[in-house]
Amino acid sequence: MHSNGFFLKDVAGFLGGYYSCIAIMNGIAALILWRKKGQVGWALAWTALAVAMMVLASLALSGSPGMVPALPASVRSLVNSLSGPMLYTLGTFALLTVLFVFRSFFVKPMVAWGILNAMLVLMGLSMADENFAAIVMKPDNVPIVGLVFLLAFFTWLATKQAVVNDDRIARGLPTVEKENDEKVLVWPDLVYTELICMVAVMAFLLVWAIFLPAPLEEPASSVKTPNPSKAPWYFLGLQEMLVYFDPWYAGVVLPSLVVFGLMAMPYLDFNKKGNGYYSIEERKFSYLTYQFGFFVLWITLIILGTFLRGPNWNFFGPFEYWTPYKVEVLNNVDLPQMFWVNLLDQPLPKAPAGASGLVQAGYVLLREAPGLLVMGAYLLLLPPLLAVTIFRGFFAKLGFVRYMVMANLMLLMLTLPIKMILRWTLNLKYIISIPEISLNF
């Protein structure tokens, strides 16, 4: 927020090049569409976009900071005021749901291209905001920006192939992979391309290193922790979980379960379809479970942690200044508190002074009874209940042990979003809280 006043001047040059790149990209796309595909309408549309981008580029390059295209301040404030972890998480979930439901529309190349353009333009316009740029352009964070685009691209690619295959399967045609089932040569088809990739990546890394040198920060100090104090980017999802769970659960149990779950997958997967080709329709359960776990519970949390979590681990809107002075209410309460005090209006059960260890333990159990009951019901009652309702088919195919493993893994995975929602709505801190033995859940 308080810069030296050079910001817009500095970023203007970058944005000029950026918009020019988008323009060139669209120009090439239009050319290909026109010459190779003969889609004149689309070609004209992208040409128009290219021209618009050229205008933006020249505005940015005009050298006058006032001319740099940017989102209106009102829009930015609106975005800032709307954003919060709940909206963000649920919003991404909703967005992914929409993308999934209407996947056959979104995978159309022209639609996808349009979405890509929209992303790029939105990004460019946002870059003119100093607070946004400060976070996004941090050399550490640039790869995360790349990650967003790469993920979008590969998801699109895979989804598109799956959509095509599903369509073909529906029409009784063989899958694309089956139809193009040709053998290829190690040389040149494999090794040569690898070599090319090596060279290209090398060149790319050199240029990157020259333009964006490795950031050097101040020496670590035992008396001053950086604020925000962030884990490496790939652990930011875990760090986000720490907001909702006790460290031992978010930091130890859940990650172990992720690994364990991934290892268990081949033994739990009884669906023989979808081997060697892309398909969604034939593996809906596996697909959705994976995408939910990967996208919603991992990637979006990384992005949240990288771009939206600021000093004191507070949530900041994308255009908000990361002030360390922001304060949020943190008066969360435990379930026993809710149950005994708020609901039953009586003090928490507490062992009389000088009671023996056993008596104390009894009191603790009494105090935590609601939480223990809820958790017990969730993990012990819910699986059988599911087995006789929606997972009836699964239970039949998997057998008791495999079914229970799968069901519990599913339920444990779901504890994260459930706990998040409980936190946002009820300010629930822990369902079970036994600080006496450092056990909180």
Binding site: N4, F6, K183, P188, T193, V207, P215, K224
Partner: protein, 1534 residues
């Protein structure tokens, strides 16, 4: 996913026929080739890009450029050397050499040589041949032939010497071998002994060794003979060719300088090999251009977890940093670029036209040449050669200067410059040249080579590097990563555009900006005063920092903000500024304890000792013990519990603070000022005294609005009122000083005015009646009458204060000026103190506090009414209740607090602390009790006790943040609150003009003035968000304000501090809403202007508590330490207010012989000035301009009428105003011998008339002190003129406070120490006495040591044999009547007693002609000084009226003392140094004894009498010495 290699498919098989499927590749191979080619090209481009990037790193460019600069410079020096003058001189020398070669050889020497040669048989033949040559030479007449033969002969002789040397070396070789053999044989023998070999074997080995020893001895003899022979030959040959050798050496030397320069040039110039190594890619291996780094393993860099060695690579770019001018090690070789105006004289007529580049014509006309191409820009007309003493040199041109304009016409290229210099000038009229001198960054040299970087400085670069002082990232090799810090927003912008500069938050030690670069000095210079100008470094080393230090000392910042320089009793971490222990305050508190009387008299004595005695350690520790014992007595304790509490304060602290509280004591304030004055003073001290140092606490509302403003308006008047009430209520009674008895004259203001003027007040105080007195050491007295008359007893108080300041305030720095009754001309006796009181009471007597006082607020102005001392209104009462309730709530629950407010605390027995005051609140004096309570709470809140002694706050703790490491405070831990919005508002909006409200005349320089609101807004750079309604661009402000605003907006320390000093309460802007009234910021506003603020900031930012390794911390030698300790005391007590403590110094550059002839010289040898031959040679050296340098230390002569420095013409006649014709000269009285034109000018000689141009070409280093003496100089002359119209102006110095230069060598330490603590009159004509300071013995000792240390005199113990009785006895033996004779001289009417008081004898005549009492010389002066002084007083005190009584070699009458003048001087010295003993010898007690009844009491009768008494009564002896009674000094003071 698609590229699935089939494992069975053959790989490019040659043996099998390839299957058809493998022919088909999955991808288009052609396309792959294209992609591959493209990616390969991309990689190549990236690699080239990388290498180019490396080749173009900015530091390489700077290195190349700097090499060019050095080459250019070397070439220019060669050109300057290689001039016509050089050739002429070379030819002369060569001619001389030829001449020497033609000279005859000394035949005798040649024969002697041959004779010596013949002593060796082998050389007989050679000797014959040489002899032949000698004969030939003698017989030959033809000069040319002779030359040839002479050459042959010498060659032959040299050959002989060579051969002799060869033989000698052979012998030496053999000798060496023999010795080695001997060593072996000896060792063999010793081994055999150790092995207990058979005796015969031992004997055999010993025999071998013995024979070898003989051989060695023989060989040694042979060698010595050969050696002697060769040396003899060499000596003879040398004698023969001496003239020739010397001439040859002169030629070689002459050529050598040039050759050296040429060699340097050759080394610097890049050659083919070097250029090759610098090519891209190749440069990676062994490029001559390298990163330059200084490794500092001891000066570590703190990386939190460990300290790492410091690497400073700054000189990689700043290559010229340590380059000095040849021959002047502290003059920068490459000064930083600046533009100067020079006046160049033109010749009378146009020089002869010549073809070519114009250089010859320029040379002929002006003595300058222009380089073919400029340095940084090829087109620049750059001076390459300046011929010494030519017109160009006189104008001050130097090689390297770029002529930018001639007479205002721009000269953008060389040919334009040549034309302007040669074609267009009006011949005979001078030209004005605009010249760019020096080099731009990063090439320029450090500007203070005398202090830094150079090897001879105290901080050589190789030991200190750069970043230990400048900070920044030393290991960086590019501009932006070095963390340079711009000095203004504009510079930041320029740097950003030029070098990609950015504010790197990650480097925690960014470079200090230019404005704060002195801050770093504090890391090592913890005493700070060592950074003041000194004799060694007359140019102030760190003026801004020192100014900040003094401001902090004067304004007492350390009262609230502790600056602890110690991290434990042994570890010094920085400057130490803390309030001294408050022992005396505790004693004051004890003195008013009701239980004091019960504690007994001894206890009372201890109390009064600690209260006012400066040295009272013993009493203090006893006092503490006594109180603690009393406290232990429990219910029987006699003292109050408060006193018991205070006992802890009396403890000896580990490292006590040393600075006094800056404000006066308020313990007896009710006896000094009245309600109205005190109320107005607290409301706004500047209302009464605009120049006060007291900060303002109330009415600082410019950041408040709405409810918060209303609160302030309601509560502040009550707070002031209650403070006044508390101070008055708690004030202890004061015992005013009683006037003298026997005063017969009524107090008279006119006389009082004279007292104030002459008796020293003006050394510290200002007064509007004396505008020429400018000291701000003490308060301005112009309105003192208004203050004193605010109370009926005010006059009495003022009288007491003048008579005895420490009675009211034991710690005051105001001295007792010892005003004693004076007998007036009409015979009445007046009291000067009463007169002065009368006068001062009349000064500003009419001053009354304003009834309404307007205060600036966010919304505009509001007024603040004066309260009346009487009853309170209902409204006021409510406000008071609310205030009291606020404090009560901090102590009690809300209900209890309200109850207490309503009914009091009952009997209060269960309550400790201030709330006890509320006992009986329901009584009639409720208002009074509440006011006292709130007053005490308010005083506590505002920490008034940090500067003042206030009853009840003897153990107050510093209220503000400690500053010992504030310079490193993490900005994220500084509460900036909303202040940036406030400042933005203030600067951008309508509040700008009120920004400095209340700063009076001090704040004028500030910031926003001159910038309208529309200027301050810069829409083009500012992104305006919805939240930032007023965004201001710091670049549009003035550089200083802009800098700080930028730092403030960036939440950096500097910005915080700036605003904190500017408007400390503004941090409550939009913040007070969320605070209670008492939680608001409390720091008062100090009346600083922008410069003062920056000075204070320089100091505070330098407090980093990061001392480097001990060997780097400045630890002065004992003598220097003594100087510094004394300096602190001298500054504190303003010794310089009266006395000159350091003389002015002028480094002048004068035209040779323009300072007149040195006077003829005949003085005692021990007084002759001594200068080394180098110094004499240096004073004869002329610079390019033909000027010589001299250093004059002394005083400019003042005009006796005006007191301003005198201006005279070359004959010494004063120049009158409006006389523009005469050449201005300034006369100087030297206080230190100087060298002018190679001849000494001595102290006490004639005044030196220095032409103004010699002064302005040089440099002036101001002295220190003597302000009052200069101020009074014309006054006392004018006064004396009324009595004696022929007064000599120089005599007036003798009536004024003397300069104390040389004091250390003059007086005895023990005497000075006593004198400082209890001064007595010395010089009868002095118009004012040395005052008596109320300081302790340690402070006096510090001053004594200071003087000795400065002068290099012995201290603290002095032994001089001449003080020993034995030396006198010896002298008496050698010269009977030694002292008697001396006494005859003393008592002869022509000599000493003409002026000096001696014993009881007072010479007749005016008191102004009297000289000090000789009887006391022996205890006061050092023998050396007396000795020199008698010989020639003016050598020690240039203005003295004392004549040379015994000129050198002209002894006084032999009737008085038989002997030479030197003996007579010695005798007088001995007499004066033993006057006491000599006089005692003549003392007899008989007179006493005779007066007494004989048997009554045995033993001496006068043991209890003062020492002077018996002498007074002693009769015998004819000398007038027998009775010694010093004349009443006060009588002399009329």
């Amino acid at each position: 996913m698609a590229a699935i290699a089939q494992p069975t498919a053959p790989l490019a098989s040659t043996t099998h026929t390839p299957m058809p499927a493998t022919e088909q590749t999955w991808r288009n191979l052609k396309l792959l080739h294209v992609v591959f080619a493209a990616s390969a090209v991309a990689l190549l481009v990236a690699t080239v890009f990388m290498l180019t990037g490396d080749h173009n790193r900015p530091w390489k460019k700077y290195a190349r450029e700097f090499r060019e600069l050095e080459t250019w410079n070397a070439q220019s020096r060669i050109d300057e050397q290689d001039s016509k003058a050089y050739e002429t001189r070379r030819d002369e020398l060569e001619a001389a050499l030829g001449e020497a070669r033609r000279a005859d050889l000394d035949g005798d020497l040649a024969r002697a040589f041959i004779a010596e040669v013949r002593t060796v048989a082998e050389d007989a033949q050679a000797a014959d041949r040489a002899e032949l040559d000698i004969d030939q030479l003698q017989s030959q007449q033809d000069a040319d032939q002779r030359l040839v033969i002479r050459g042959d002969l010498l060659a032959r002789l040299r050959d002989i010497v060579k051969r002799t040397k060869f033989r000698e070396d052979n012998i030496a070789g053999a000798l060496k071998l023999r010795r080695a053999e001997l060593d072996k044989n000896r060792a063999d023998y010793e081994l055999a002994v150790a092995e207990e070999a058979p005796a015969d074997r031992q004997a055999a080995l010993l025999g071998v060794a013995d024979s070898k020893r003989q051989q060695v001895a023989d060989a040694n003899l042979a060698f010595q003979a050969a050696n002697t022979h060769r040396k003899k030959l060499e000596t003879l040959l040398g004698q023969m060719t001496r003239a020739e050798d010397e001439a040859a050496k002169a030629v070689a030397d002459h050529r050598g300088k040039l050759a050296q320069l040429q060699k340097t040039l050759a080394q610097r110039e890049p050659n083919a090999g070097k250029s090759l190594l610098e090519l891209p890619v190749l440069e990676a291996f062994n490029s001559p251009i390298r990163v330059d780094q200084i490794w500092l393993p001891q000066l570590t860099l703190n990386n939190n977890f460990r300290d790492v060695a410091r690497f400073d690579r700054c000189t990689t770019c700043h290559r010229g940093m340590d380059k000095s001018m040849p021959g002047a090690p502290s003059e920068p070789g490459y000064p930083e670029a600046q533009t100067v105006q020079l006046t160049l004289a033109t010749p009378a007529a146009r020089p002869e036209q010549k073809a070519g580049d114009g250089n010859d014509q320029l040379d002929a006309a002006y003595g300058l040449r222009l380089a073919a191409r400029g340095l940084f820009d090829a087109a620049d007309p750059t001076v390459s050669v300046v011929v010494p003493e030519s017109a160009a040199a006189v104008a001050g041109l130097q090689p390297g200067d770029v002529i930018e304009a001639v007479d205002g016409g721009k000269t953008l290229a060389r040919n334009v410059a040549v034309t302007s210099l040669l074609e267009t000038p009006a011949w005979g009229k001078p030209l004005v040249l605009t010249v760019r001198r020096g080099v731009p960054q990063p090439y320029s040299t450090h500007p203070r080579l005398d202090l830094f970087v150079s090897d001879s400085s105290p901080h050589p670069m190789k030991n200190f590097g750069c970043t230990i002082c400048h900070q920044g990232q030393g290991s960086a090799t590019s501009f932006k990563w070095a963390s340079h810090t711009p000095n203004s927003p504009k510079q930041a912008h320029e740097w950003h555009d030029e070098h990609g500069w950015f504010n790197n938050h990650h480097w925690i030690y960014p470079m200090l900006p230019e404005r704060f670069e002195e801050s770093s000095c504090l890391k090592c210079h913890h005493q700070v005063v060592d950074l003041e100008p000194s004799e060694k470094f007359p140019e102030p080393p760190a003026p801004q920092l020192v100014e900040g230090y003094h401001l902090i000392r004067q304004y007492g910042c350390y009262g609230c903000h502790e600056i602890n320089g110690w991290a434990g009793p042994e570890k010094r971490i920085g400057p130490d500024m803390r309030v001294e222990p408050t022992f005396h305050e505790v004693a004051e508190a004890l003195a008013s304890d009701p239980g004091l009387v019960a504690m007994g008299d001894t206890f009372g004595r201890w109390v009064s000792d600690v209260r006012s005695g400066p040295d009272s350690r013993e009493s203090r520790s006893r006092l503490r013990d006594a109180i603690e014992r009393d406290a232990a007595a429990g219910a029987d304790a006699k003292l109050s519990s408060r006193s018991h509490q205070l006992a802890a304060v009396l403890k000896d602290p580990e490292t006590p603070g040393t600075f006094p509280k800056v404000g006066p004591s308020l313990r007896h304030v009710a006896s000094k000022v009245g309600f109205d004055w005190l109320y107005s003073w607290l409301r706004n001290p500047q209302e009464f005294r605009p120049s006060t140092k007291m900060p303002r606490f109330f009415g600082l509302w410019s950041h408040l609005e709405g409810k918060q403003l209303e609160e302030s308006k309601r509560y502040e008047p009550l707070e002031i009122r209650s403070m006044v009430h508390y101070l008055t209520e708690s004030s202890a009674p004061f015992d005013y000083v009683k006037p003298f008895d026997g005063i017969t004259a009524a107090p008279d203001a006119a006389r009082g005015r004279k007292v104030v003027q002459l008796r020293g007040c003006l050394a510290c105080h200002q007064h509007e009646d004396f505008p020429e007195a400018t000291s701000t050491h003490g308060p301005n007295l112009s309105r003192i009458g208004g203050k004193a008359s605010s109370l009926p007893q005010g006059k009495q108080w003022l009288y007491s204060w003048l008579r005895e300041p420490s009675r009211y305030h034991p710690k005051t720095i105001m001295p007792n000026v010892l005003l004693e009754p004076v007998t007036l001309a009409d015979g009445t006796v007046s009291d000067p103190a009463a007169d002065a009181t009368e006068y001062l009471m009349g000064s500003g007597r009419d001053w009354k506090p304003a009834a309404d006082w307007s205060v600036e607020t966010l919304a505009g102005e509001t007024s603040f009414p004066m309260a009346s001392a009487g009853s309170m209104t209902a409204e006021e009462r409510t406000a008071l209740d609310e205030l009291a309730l606020m404090y009560l709530k901090e102590r009690f629950t809300v209900v209890r607090a309200e109850q207490v407010l309503a009914t009091g605390v009952g009997d209060g027995s269960s309550i400790q602390g201030d709330e006890r005051m509320l006992v009986g609140l329901d009584g009639a004096d409720r208002d009074r009790r509440l006011l006292t309570y709130v007053g005490k709470k308010t005083i506590n809140k505002l920490a008034c006790y940090s500067c003042h002694d206030i009853p009840g706050f003897e153990d107050g703790k510093p209220a503000g943040a400690a500053l010992a490491d504030w310079g490193r405070k993490d900005p994220s831990r500084i509460a900036f609150e909303q202040v940036s919005h406030f400042v933005t508002h203030q600067l951008a909006g309508g509040h700008g003009e009120h920004a400095e409200h209340g700063h009076g005349q001090h704040g004028g320089a500030d910031a926003a003035s001159g910038h309208g609101p529309e200027e301050t807004l810069a829409p083009e750079l500012a992104y305006k968000s919805a939240h930032d309604e007023a965004h201001i661009d710091p670049e549009t402000l003035d550089p200083d304000t802009g800098y700080f605003v930028q730092k403030l907006l960036g939440h950096e320390r500097e910005g915080f501090l700036w605003q904190k000093l500017r408007a400390p309460r503004s941090y409550d802007y939009k913040k007070a809403e969320n605070k209670t009234y008492n939680e608001r910021y409390r720091m008062p506003q100090f009346p600083f202007n922008q410069e003062q603020r920056e000075a204070v900031m320089t100091f505070v930012l330098g407090l980093v508590a990061e001392p480097p390794a001990p060997q780097y911390v400045h630890t002065p030698a004992p003598r220097e330490q003594a100087r510094l300790d004394g300096l602190v005391v001298a500054e504190q007590y303003n010794c310089g207010g009266c006395h000159q403590l350091r003389m002015d110094r002028w480094d002048i550059r004068y035209t040779p012989e323009s300072l007149g002839e040195p006077p003829a010289f005949a003085d005692y040898p021990f007084l002759s000035p001594h200068f080394t031959p180098e110094q004499v040679a240096g004073s004869l050296a002329t610079d390019r301009q033909g000027r010589r340098k001299a250093t004059l230390v002394g005083m400019p002569t003042l005009d006796p009428l005006t007191g301003r420095p005198q201006l005279v013409d070359e004959d010494g006649v004063p120049i009158e105003d409006g006389d523009a014709e005469s050449v201005v000269h300034r006369p100087f009285a030297l206080w230190q011998d100087a060298l002018v034109d190679g001849a000494p000018r001595t102290v006490g000689g004639q005044n030196l008339l220095v032409p103004q141009d010699a002064l302005s070409a040089g440099h002036h280093y101001p002295g220190w002190g003597g302000d009052l003496a200069r101020l009074l100089y014309p006054v006392v002359i004018a006064d004396e003129k009324q009595v004696n119209p022929n007064v000599k102006p120089d005599d007036a110095w003798g009536w004024l406070p003397p300069p104390l230069v040389g004091e250390g060598k003059k007086v005895q330490s023990a005497w000075l120490h006593k004198f400082l603590l209890n001064p007595h009159p010395i010089r009868p004509p002095a118009v004012l006495r040395m005052p008596k300071f109320h300081f302790d013995s340690a402070k006096a000792a510090a001053l004594v040591n200071y003087f000795a240390a400065v002068d290099g005199a012995e201290y603290p113990y002095v032994y001089d044999p001449r003080l020993d009785d034995a030396s006198v006895a010896a002298a008496e033996q050698a010269h009977p009547g030694h002292l008697e004779g001396a006494l005859k001289i003393v008592t002869n009417n022509n000599y000493c007693v003409k002026c000096h008081l001696v014993g009881d004898y007072t010479p007749a005549g005016s008191v102004k002609a009297l000289a000090p009492q000789l009887q006391r010389v022996h205890e006061r002066l050092r023998p050396d000084y007396v000795h020199g002084w008698i010989a020639n007083p003016k050598r020690f005190l240039p203005y003295t009226g004392m004549p040379v009584n015994i000129p050198y070699n002209q002894p006084v009458s032999q009737d008085l003392y038989h002997g030479t003048s030197e003996q007579q001087v010695d005798a007088l010295t001995d007499l004066l140094m033993h006057f006491d003993a000599f006089a005692k010898k003549n003392l007899s007690l008989e007179a006493f004894l005779r007066q007494q009844p004989p048997p009554a009491q045995p033993g001496p009768a006068v043991p209890s009498q003062p020492a002077a008494q018996p002498r007074a009564a002693a009769v015998p002896g004819s000398t007038p010495l027998s009775s010694a009674n010093s004349p009443a000094p006060a009588a002399a003071l009329n």
